[in-house]
Structure formats: C-alpha cells, structure tokens
C-alpha cells in the first residue's frame, strides 16, 4: 500500500518499543490491534473522492465546502472530530486551470487519514517534505504531472490543526457520468495534489 514501511528505521524502533511494552505488561497485542483498527476504520480515499464528486456535481455544495470544509463534511456523514472530541479543521482547496494546489506537512506527516486512507510512505519522506515547498513544479513532474508554465502553484504546509484536501479539475468529457462514477475517477494522489485527478 505505502511502499517500504516495514524496512524503515522507525518501523524497527516501533516494533522494539511495542515488544518491550508488551513484555512489561503495560499493553497487550490485542489492545494495539484494536486501537489501530479503530484508527483506520472506514479510513479510505473513497471518502475524499465522494467529497470531490459532490463538489463537481453540486455547485452550491462546492461553494460551501470551500468556505467551511469542516461543516460541509457533516452533510456527507463525515465528522472530523475524533473519538477524543478534538479533531481537526478541514480546509478544501480547489484546482483551476490557472491554479494548482498541493499538500505537505513539512514538520511531520499530518494528513486527513479518515478521508484519504493511510498516508503513503513518500508523503512522510524527508525528500518530499523538503523539496515540494521549494521546487513543487519539479516534484510534481517527477510524479508525472507536468503543469503548464502559466499555472500558479500553492503549496499548503499543514503545520497546525488544519488538514487539507484538494479538489482536482474535473476531467473533460465526463458530463455523462453520475456522482458515483465521478468519484471512481478520483485518486488518493489527486486528493493530495500530486496527480491531475
């Protein structure tokens, strides 16, 4: 799913830490699995894709979700408040033929997991985090997204309690598709802003 997690140094550290905590009787394997399952429950990029498809097909919703993503999300049954009641603020940004948006967390790996699914390994890599704020056009080209020179780029660094979601430009010749079919076109990478859709 996300590449090379298992071999990353941090993964080895986490495995060791988990083993020690279990040995010490502080946690159990089952408890860790339960927390992880709850964290990832229903976390799927299809959730973000549904938001995009609704915004493409319902202009009023498209306005509302840009003005207040957190509130508009509730209309689709998503709540950004976690079980601890803290949650995050959702900011939705929309690509146009003139402006492209791309999301990063330069400090760590902040990411709206419930809407986009588990974040990919590259999103957490030092290379992506350090380079996309500096040379986004080159980084996007490496993802296969060649933007015309006249397209302005905004890079959103999620350094606080807002999480970002990108609405891609609706592909041409999709007028005949309904909302569900449109949602199927939208990829996780499109929601982060490193793919066209």
């Amino acid at each position: 799913m996300s590449g090379d997690h298992a071999s990353a140094p941090v993964a080895a550290r986490v495995r060791t830490l988990e083993a020690r905590l279990i040995e010490a009787g502080l946690i159990t394997d089952d408890a860790v699995d339960r927390v992880l399952a709850a964290f990832l429950d229903r976390a799927d990029p299809h959730n973000g894709a549904r938001i995009v498809a609704r915004a493409w097909t319902d202009a009023d919703f498209g306005e509302r979700v840009l003005a207040d993503g957190t509130a508009a999300l509730l209309e689709l049954g998503f709540d950004t408040k976690g079980r601890d009641g803290k949650g995050y603020r959702l900011k939705v940004v929309r690509n146009t033929p003139e402006r492209h948006n791309v999301v990063v967390c330069t400090l760590c790996s902040c990411y709206p997991v419930s809407l986009l699914g588990p974040s990919p390994g590259w999103y957490k890599s030092l290379a992506y985090r350090s380079r996309v704020v500096r040379e986004p056009r080159a980084v996007l080209a490496e993802f296969g997204l060649e933007l015309p020179g006249e397209v302005d780029i905004t890079v959103w660094d999620s350094s606080a309690e807002t999480r970002y979601l990108v609405i891609p430009v609706r592909p041409p010749d999709t007028e005949h598709l309904d909302e569900a079919a449109l949602a199927d076109l939208v990829t996780r990478d499109g929601l982060i802003g490193v793919a066209a859709v």
């Binding site: 900011k91 302005d152 780029i153 890079v155 660094d157 350094s159 807002t162």
Partner: protein
C-alpha cells in the same frame, strides 16, 4: 522598555479578538525555543501575508510540554517562494499560531527576544 509594552502587543489575550486580519503583512519570530514548536525553521524571520484566520486552537508548544495549553488564533500565512528561497514563482502557506507572528512593520527584534 519591555515592561512598558502593553501585554497585548506581545501576547494575544486568551479568547480575544484576532490580532491580525486577512491581507495584513506579518513577520515570523526568529529564535529557537528549547521545546517543541510548530514554527518551521524555513519561515522564521520571513515576511508573509495573512490569508485567513482559523480560529483558536490549543498552542502545540504548550500541550507538547504537558502543560494546560492556551488557546490562540491560528492563521494561514502565505509566503512568496522568492522570499523563502531566492527563486520560484509559487506560494507556500504555513499555519502559524498568533504568538509566532509580529506585524511586518515596524522592524524590531524586541518581540523576538521575549520568547
């Protein structure tokens, strides 16, 4: 001189009105705190423009230290790539708590030294 400065000039009142409005020019405080912060090094000392207010959020610098955190307004602040890196035509926005920011003018380091 520091004592003579009204508190509101250096620290926001808890739950008070946002100090900055969209379009305001701001400067990110320099200095390296000895604790966790969400003030990325690449924008410290840099000038940017307030894009929008995100409302009050618990200050991560304090919650990371196990303190009962103050709530402060967080702002989306836009920076020109040319200012940050010396080249580039794009914009980078960073989400910054109010106490990370100073008005871009006047140019004084006084506020920076306080934190």
């Amino acid at each position: 001189m520091t004592e003579a400065r009204p508190r509101s000039e250096t620290r926001p009142a808890p739950g008070g009105e946002p100090r900055f409005a969209p379009g305001d020019r701001v400067r990110v405080r320099v200095g390296d705190p000895g604790h966790h912060t969400r003030r990325p090094r690449y924008v410290r000392g840099q000038r940017g423009v307030i894009v929008e207010s995100q409302g009050p959020w618990p200050l991560a610098d304090e919650s990371a230290q196990g303190l009962d955190p103050r709530s402060e307004v967080v702002y989306t602040v836009g920076f020109a790539a040319r200012d940050l890196w010396g080249s580039g035509a794009h914009t980078v926005t960073v989400d910054l708590w109010e106490s990370y920011l100073l008005p871009a003018e006047p140019e004084t380091e006084e506020g920076d030294r306080e934190r």
